[in-house]
Structure formats: C-alpha cells, structure tokens
C-alpha cells in the first residue's frame, strides 16, 4: 500500500479524474479526434479493471503507473485485434508520428504535450463557448455529465446534447491533434484563454452548492493554464496574467465560505485563511505578465485581484476603480459594471455609489439588487430590505439566499 491516504473516500474519484485526463489526452493524440470513443473506451475499461483489481488486492504502490501500463496494453490489444492501425490510422498520421503511435508513451513530457495539443483541439471556435467548456471538462478534465449538470445548474440532457453537437463539430473539423504550430497557437490562443477563464469562473462564481465540484473546476482550470505557461509557444503575457488572476482568486477559496457552506463576504473574511503560497505564486506570474506592452483584460483583472490581496492601503480603492474603468472600456459585462460601481462607492461614498448604480439599468440582475441593498443599508433600511428581497427572489444560489436573508434579519434587528 502507498503512503498517500488511499482510504480517503475522495481519493479514487480524484485519481481517476486526473488520470482520465492524462490518459485520454495521450490516446486521443494517437487515435485522432475521429476516433474519440476508442480512446475513451480504453480508459474506461482501464478504470473498470483498476476498480475490480484494487478492490481485492489493494491499491498498488504507484497507482498512476499501474493505470498507464494497463491502458498501454489495452491500446495495443485493441490495435492488434481490430487492425485499426493498418486500415485507418496509418493514413491519418504523418510518418514521423507512427513510431510514437506504437509506443504509447505516458511520460511526463508526452502527457504535457498531449494535453496542450488537446486544449487547442477542444477550443475550436466552430463550437460555442459553452460547448467548448463542456468539452474541455469532459475531455481534458474527466468530468461526468452529471457533475457538469450540477456545476452549471443545467439538466443532464442539456449537457449531453451540447456535448454531442460539439463532438460532431470536432469530427467534421478534422482537426489534427499534434503539437500545435505557431500559426495555430496564434489563431486559437485567445479562444483557449477565454475558455480557461470561463472554466475557472464557473467554479469560482457558480451558483451550484456543490463546493467540491466547484473547487475541482478551479483547480482544473489552473492546471491547464499552468500547461500554457510552461510551453514557450504559449507562455504569453496574457497566459501568465490569467494564471496570476486564478492564483489570487483561489487564494481566498477557503476564506470565502463557512463550514456550513455560507458565503463570507470579502470584508468579513479571516485573512489568516488566505493561502499565502498561492498569493506568492500569483505575484510571480503577475510579474511575468507585465513585461509586454499590451494590456489585456487578464492583466487588468489580475491587477484588481492583486489589490484585493493588499489588506490596507489608503489609495487601494482608487487604484481598483481605475483598473475597473480600464477593464470596462475593453469589455462590458454586467458583473464588471457592478464591481466597478462597488469600487466607485468605496472611493466616493455610498450616496454617489447609489446614483451611479441606478444608471446601470440591471433590474433583472440579483447582484444589482444585492449591491443596492448593501449601499442603502447604512442610511435607508427599508430601501435596503426591499433590494435585498428582490435579490433573494432573483438568485438561484441557496448560499446567496441564505446570506442575504441573514442581512435582512440583521438590518431589521437594528431597527427595533
């Protein structure tokens, strides 16, 4: 038995998910996207065998190596049995790749290269952004349809359909999974960064109550972003900025929800719970991100996130507001508009903030009412309660409802 805590109930699902992503990436590269199912079947069978064997014999010393060996053998068997290699694959892969195809090499480097190639294959602009995210989660991160439905608060049928369509597009697109060349990287890097950004946000801001899945979404997005920063072709300032942003945000992951799953607002968070190591890593990537002269939304958002790791600086909110001003000029989103207004209120006071907020015309947005509730709380309790009540009605998140109801009770308690 190994020294890792294999009795942890989360151990096997976590290992399987991680290794699923690694093994399918390597296999996909060999079989091509036209035969996605073959690779997936081989990996599924590998896990099935692992589950059976480990159940009786215990988990082996090196579970990953065990899985790779089994997957490798199954892949070779498959090729032998079906002569697929002779009939279909040989013509599809370039001569210099045939040797590698027979090897089924699961070394660190091949895994990293394969995953990078897969990221670029999956982030195909021919698919919608939603479809790309689902595909990335399934193919690159080994998420099940149920887990995705849970994370997106969608029906499993919807997710299934989305995936089917996306996979059909990939097959038709005939995209060759290989080490992406400079031109492909150039043309797809924006899409890749955007998909990883949204993948992370899905986890970080998701209204799903499933804390574990949300955390996995974030760490998967970070794992993939890290792969980008480790390859000279993809380690752009934007990629570094994105990873810096993710590090800063996730440094507060533990501090932002209580043991009972309630959301803890930024100002009430125990700063001791902020992950110092992630902040330090964020700083490192942020420095890497600042060498270029282009300012992307990732740099601006990383800058804002950095300011949030600085506990007290008299100019803090002015800097944050200026970064939000720049950010919203690059790209409008209701969330950016609301965050900017919050920063505005911190600089110019709640009254000015309310005036700014009411111009936004976001009546149907729960965060809009939560923000107004917050801004009114000190001066006009009935208005604050009215806005909080509307926010509760609009939000889908149980944790959010609970936090807002708590605020209403607190305010009403103050009145009596």
């Amino acid at each position: 038995m190994t020294s890792i805590n294999t009795s942890d109930p989360g151990f096997l699902p976590h290992l399987f998910r991680l290794e699923y992503a690694r093994m399918t990436a390597v296999l996909f590269r060999h079989f091509g996207l036209q035969h996605i199912e073959i690779a997936e079947d081989i990996v599924s069978e590998t896990f099935l065998k692992a589950a059976e064997t480990w159940n009786t014999n215990g988990v082996p010393e090196n579970p990953s190596a065990w899985l790779y060996t089994v997957a490798k053998n199954k892949a070779k068997d498959y090729l032998k049995r079906h002569h697929l290699f002779e009939t279909k694959i040989r013509h599809a892969v370039a001569p210099d790749e045939t040797q590698a195809a027979q090897e089924f090499d699961f070394s660190q480097q091949t895994i990293a290269d394969s995953q990078l190639a897969m990221i670029f294959a999956v982030c195909n602009p021919a698919n919608s952004t939603e479809a790309q995210i689902c595909l990335a989660l399934q193919i690159l991160c080994g998420f099940s349809v149920e887990e995705m439905a849970d994370a997106f608060l969608a029906k499993t049928e919807t997710v299934k359909k989305r995936l089917q369509r996306a996979r059909a597009t990939l097959r038709e697109d005939n995209f060759r999974i290989q080490q992406p060349d400079a031109a492909t990287i150039q043309s797809r890097l924006d899409t890749v960064l955007r998909t990883l950004y949204l993948l992370f946000n899905e986890g970080y801001y998701s209204q799903s109550g499933n804390h574990l899945i949300r955390k996995d979404l974030c760490s998967e997005a970070m794992r993939l972003a890290l792969i980008l920063t480790e390859n000279p072709l993809t380690a752009t300032t934007q990629a570094h900025a994105l990873l810096a942003l993710m590090c800063f945000q996730s440094s507060r992951f533990e501090a932002r929800s209580s043991a009972t799953g309630d959301t803890i607002l930024f100002e009430q968070q125990d700063q001791e719970l902020w992950n110092k190591e992630l902040i330090a890593r964020g700083n490192y990537y942020l420095v890497q991100a600042c060498s270029g002269d282009t300012l992307s939304k990732y740099q601006l958002e990383a800058g804002i996130a950095w300011w949030h790791t600085v506990p007290s600086d008299p100019q803090k909110w002015e800097h944050i507001l200026q970064l939000y001003n720049e950010l919203i000029l690059i790209e409008y989103s209701p969330m950016t508009a609301l965050n900017r207004t919050f920063a505005y209120a911190r600089v110019y006071g709640n009254r000015a903030g309310i005036e700014e907020a009411t111009q936004l015309q976001l009546e149907g947005n729960s965060y809009y009412h939560a923000l107004l509730g917050y801004l009114y709380a000190a001066t006009d309790v009935p208005a604050a309660v009215a806005h909080y009540t509307r926010a509760i009605r609009l939000t889908k998140s149980a944790a959010e409802k609970k936090t807002l109801s708590g605020e209403i009770s607190r305010l009403q308690g103050l009145q009596h």
């Binding site: 939000y324 001003n325 409008y332 900017r340």
Partner: protein, 117 residues
Amino acid sequence: MKEFILIFRNSTNPHDNPSQEQLQERMNWMGGIAARNRLADKGNRLSAGNAKTIRPGNVVTDGPYTEIKEYISGYMIVKTATIEEAIELARNNPILKDGGNIEVRAILGPEEGDHRP
C-alpha cells in the same frame, strides 16, 4: 440603439499637463458610460501641438486653428436610443467645467438620409 459622436472642443489644451484629479475624473466619466453599456468607441485624444492644416493651393499652416479660438481636443462614440440620452451622458463630462463644450452628432448610416427627428 443609434450611435452619436461626442466631439470635445476646448480653448485651452486639456492634454497639456493634466492633474491627477483631472485624469481620474475623465476616466470615471468614461468608465461610467461604459458601465451603462453605452460606449461604442472610446475614441481618441487629438494633439494640439503636432497638428497642421492643409488648404487649397498647397498652403500648409501650423496648428489645427487659425481663425477660431476653439479646437477639437478629442472625440468618442456612444450608443443610445435618442440624442437626448446622449446629451445626458455628455452633461457630466469634466470638460464643461473648464470652459470647453461638447458637440453631439448622430452618425449617419450609408443609406440614411439626414433629417431632424
């Protein structure tokens, strides 16, 4: 939504040593418009120093102005339902405090005739 260009005019050069407060005020104003999703193009500032005017007969003069005291210091484009809404957005621009003014003009589409609404 229709697009309206805001043309900023000034008699002093606002790009000449603006204070930190002035810069911040301008950015806040523009950020506020973007936050309402009313910004179509953030436009550009226009130089008063590096400027020439070309006239018939190959006459090239320094500066953007000869007869008038005012010159265009920049422009941006907003998208609003009506010209009144565009005016409302322009009303809080800090240039008005410094004696400048803003011209608001509807941008015409290729096939669009010009008429008063």
